[in-house]
Symmetry: C2
Subunit: 459 residues, 2 copies
C-alpha cells in the first residue's frame, strides 16, 4: 500500500520530469566566468520552486563566489531534522562534438534523460524537491519531519562558499543528519547507500625555464624545456605499476575492515565487463594486489588532467615554451588529510626539480576523505525505505569521488550524512552524453518520501 505522497508523486511524474528539464536547460557551468549569470539564474529558479512547494524562509545567500539557496520547514515538533543538500552547478560540457544531442537541450532516449547535470547533480537534487512537494501536497501542507535545504553552485569548483558558510553559520543549518543524493547505485535495480568517499587535492605544477619562448633550433641543447621537466616529474610520481612514489603518502592510509572487504567481494562486479563497457581501454591500470573496488574506493590515486602551455594547434611550431603547467590531482582515503598529502607532494615535487627549471606547486582545492558509520538510525531508516521501494536488500558501498561537503557536515555540524544516490555506473558524469535513468529519478523521489515518512513515524 502506497502512501498518499507516493501516489501524488506517481500521478505527477510527467510534470516532475518537465520541471527537471527546465532546470537542465540553464547552462550553470560554475568554472567558466562567462556563465556566472546562468549559475545565478539556476539559483533563482530553485528559490522560486522551493517557495512554490511550501518551504519557508527561502533565501538566496551571497558568497565569495556563486550563491547558496536556503529554505526550511521546522514545524514537526519532536521529530528529527534533515539537512537536504544538493548542487545546481555543472561541469563544462566539452568536448562538445562528442555529444549525441546538445548538452543543454535535455533529450529523452531509451528511457534516459541526456543533458549536462542530468544526474550530477540537478536531477538528484530535484528528487529532494519533488519528494518534499509530494509530502506537502499529500499532507495538507505539512512534512513528517523537520527539513532544511541548502543548495550550492560551486561544487564543481571546490565549494568554497558553502564550506565557509558551514564553518561560520553552522547554527543556521542545525539538523540531526544530512541527506545527499550525489552518488550512484552499484548496479541497476540494486538499492545502494554510500558510506565512504575519497577526498582529494587538485593541484597545479608550473614549470618555468627560459624567460621567453625560444626557437628549438637555435636553443635546443641549451635551454631547459618545461614540458620535459614536467614529464620527468610526473614519471616519478607513480611507478609503472601505478604505485604512488611520494614518500610517506601511504602512511596514513587505513585499510577497510575485513567485513567491508568481504561485502565488496560479494557485490555483483564483472571486471572484464567493466573494462570493456565502462572504461574501454585494452587493460585496466592501478596498484597491483588490490581489487578494482579497493583501488577506486579505498586506495589513494593520482591523475593528470591537462598540461596547458606551448603550442597545441594543428601542425608544427618549433617552440621551447617559457613555461608549462600540469594539472595533477590526488584522491585521498581515510585517514589521509589534504593538508598533509599536499605537504608531502609539494616537498617531493620540489625535490625532483630538474636543472634550469623553477617550479611553483599550488593547491587549487581540496576535500577530506570520509567514512560514515552504518550504526545510526538514519542509515537504518534509509536502508528500510529503499528495501520497501525497490524490494531488494540495500548494499553498502564507498565512492571513489569526493563530496567535500560531507566532511564539513561531520566536522562542523557534527552530523552524519546519508548518501542515497540513484545514478548508474554508465551515466557519463563529467563526460559527454551525461544521462539520468528516468525510472531512477521517479523511484528516487519515492525512496526519499518513504524515508522521511518512516523517520516521522518512528517513536
Amino acid at each position: 500500500m502506497s502512501s498518499a505522497a507516493v501516489t501524488f508523486a506517481r500521478e505527477n511524474q510527467p510534470r516532475f520530469l518537465e520541471e527537471l528539464k527546465t532546470l537542465l536547460r540553464i547552462p550553470s557551468i560554475s568554472t567558466l566566468p562567462e556563465h556566472a549569470k546562468d549559475v545565478a539564474a539556476a539559483a533563482n529558479w530553485l528559490a522560486a520552486e522551493l517557495k512554490r512547494i511550501g518551504m519557508e524562509n527561502v533565501e538566496i545567500i551571497p558568497t565569495s563566489g556563486h550563491p547558496l539557496v536556503y529554505a526550511d520547514w521546522l514545524h514537526a515538533a519532536g521529530k528529527p531534522a534533515v539537512l537536504c543538500y544538493g548542487h545546481y552547478d555543472v561541469q563544462p560540457p566539452d568536448p562538445l562534438d562528442e555529444w549525441t544531442t546538445p548538452p543543454f537541450e535535455p533529450t529523452e532516449r531509451n528511457g534516459n534523460l541526456y543533458a549536462r547535470g542530468a544526474v550530477d547533480d540537478k536531477g538528484q537534487m530535484m528528487m529532494h524537491v519533488k519528494a518534499l512537494e509530494s509530502l506537502f501536497a499529500a499532507n495538507g501542507g505539512k512534512l513528517p519531519i523537520n527539513v532544511r535545504v541548502i543548495l550550492e553552485g560551486e561544487e564543481e569548483v571546490g565549494g568554497e562558499g558553502i564550506a565557509a558558510f558551514v564553518r561560520e553559520h553552522g547554527d543556521r543549518l542545525k539538523a540531526d543528519f544530512a541527506l545527499v543524493s550525489d552518488t550512484e547505485m552499484f548496479a541497476p535495480e540494486l538499492p545502494t547507500l554510500c558510506v565512504g568517499l575519497r577526498g582529494m587535492i587538485y593541484t597545479e605544477i608550473e614549470a618555468r625555464g627560459a624567460k621567453t619562448d625560444l626557437h628549438s633550433g637555435m636553443y635546443g641543447g641549451a635551454a631547459p624545456n618545461p614540458f620535459v621537466a614536467l614529464a620527468q616529474i610526473i614519471a616519478q610520481l607513480k611507478d609503472s605499476a601505478g604505485r604512488i612514489l611520494i614518500p610517506g603518502f601511504y602512511d596514513a592510509v587505513k585499510a577497510p575492515s575485513s567485513d567491508e572487504l568481504k561485502a565488496w567481494a560479494s557485490l555483483p562486479f564483472d571486471e572484464e565487463a567493466y573494462r570493456e563497457h565502462e572504461v574501454g581501454s585494452p587493460q585496466l591500470t592501478g596498484e597491483p594486489g588490490f581489487s578494482v573496488l579497493e583501488r577506486t574506493w579505498a586506495r589513494p590515486t593520482l591523475d593528470v588532467h591537462g598540461m596547458p602551455g606551448g603550442f597545441t594547434g594543428a601542425g608544427a611550431k618549433t617552440v621551447i615554451p617559457a613555461k608549462a603547467v600540469a594539472k595533477v590531482s590526488m584522491r585521498l582515503v581515510p585517514d589521509q588529510t589534504p593538508q598533509q598529502a599536499f605537504a608531502q607532494y609539494k616537498a617531493y615535487v620540489e625535490s625532483l626539480k630538474p636543472k634550469g627549471i623553477e617550479l611553483d606547486v599550488r593547491m587549487i582545492h581540496s576535500g577530506d576523505p570520509i567514512v560514515i558509520g552504518t550504526d545510526n538510525p538514519y542509515i537504518e531508516a534509509a536502508r528500510e525505505a529503499m528495501h520497501q521501494v525497490w524490494n531488494k536488500d540495500t548494499v553498502f558501498v564507498r565512492g571513489g569521488g569526493s563530496i567535500p561537503i560531507v566532511g564539513d557536515f561531520e566536522r562542523h555540524l557534527k552530523i552524519p550524512t546519508v548518501m542515497m544516490g540513484f545514478g548508474l555506473p554508465d551515466d557519463n558524469l563529467h563526460a559527454p552524453n551525461e544521462k539520468f535513468h528516468i525510472a531512477n529519478y521517479h523511484r528516487g523521489i519515492e525512496s526519499i518520501i518513504v524515508f522521511f515518512e518512516r523517520l516521522g513515524a518512528a517513536k
Copy 2:
C-alpha cells in the same frame, strides 16, 4: 668608394624600410588555414614587386599548399648564376599578450623593427629584392650576374611544395649557387657566414586510454591516464643530464673537424651572458662534455613543444581524458637522416608503451642536416664582400635550426648554398617581440650588392 648601386640603396633607405613594413602587415601564417588568403596576398605582393624592379618571367606557381613565387633575369652572359631563396610565410604570433606592440603592426623602437616575420624571413628576403632593385637602378636595368629568385610560403610548415618543385623541376632553377638569408650574425657587427645546419623530425605521439573521458574520482585507480603515459615515455627519451636515450640515435653523428672546433672556441661567446640575457633560465641544460656551441650546432637534441588534450582552462576539471598528444621534435646533425632517426624513435617509443595505452607515433615533417664546404668561389666572394661592407673578418659558424631547402638544393640541384644572414641572437625568432635590427637590414642590402658586383667583376 661606394658603387652607384650602394649609393642608390643608401639614398632609398626610408622607402626600402616602408616597403618592408607593407609586407609585414600581411599576416601570412602558413600553419593556420584561416590565414591562407593572407599567405596568397603576400605572394601576390612579392610578384608585383619583383616585376616592378625589373625581374622577368615573374610567375606565381601553385603547389599542393601555398604558392611559390618565381622570377629571373638571365642576360649576364658568361657570368655566374645565383638562385636567391627566401620565404614569405611566418610563424603564428601566440602568445599574443606578450607582444609589446601587435605582431602585424610593424613598429620601430630603439633602432629595431618589431613584427612577426621582421627577420624570419620577410626582412631578410626583402634584402635580396632591394639589392636587386639597387643594381638594376644603378646599371641601366642590368644586373652584374644572372639571377633566379624562388620564394616559398610554407617554410614554417615543412616546405612540401618547394621540395617537390626542386625535385621535379630542377631545370627551372639551374644556377651555380644559392643565396639564402635566413640565419643570424654570431654577434652584433660580426659578419658571419653559416656553413652548417641541423636537420629535424617533428612528430606527434598520441596516447589513447579509455574510450571516453572519465571522472577521475570514479575511475582513478583503474583507468589508464594518457598524460601519465606520455610523461613516462618522454621521461625515457632523455636522461636527466640531457642525453637522448633512443637506441642507436647517436651512431651516425659525425663530430666537427678539429679546425672547426678550434674556430668555435675562439668566437666571442660569453656563456654566462648567453644564459642570462638570451635564455634567462637559472641554468643551461644539455649533454655534459660539450660546449654550448657544440650542443646547439653539432649535437642532436629533443624537445617537447606542447601537449594538447584534457582540460587546459583555468580552475579544476577532474577528467581522465580519453586521449592526449605530445608534440616532440628532434634536431639532427650530419650524418643522421630523418628516415633513420624517425624509425629509431618510433620503435623505441612503441617499446615503452605503458599498460592499458594505445600509441600512434607520426611524423609531421622533416629536414636533412647539412654542412657546406668553405672551399668554393661563392663562399670566398661572400666573405670578401662582407669584409668590405663591415670592415671586419667574417666568421664561419653553423646554425642550430633547420633550413631543409638547403639540403634539397645540394641533393637535387647539386649546388652549394651561401647562407649570408643578418639576424641577431636576440631577435626572438618564433617568439613574441620578434625584431630586425634596422641597420642590419640596410647593411645586408649593401653586402648583397657588393657580393653580386664582385662575382660579376671576377674573371
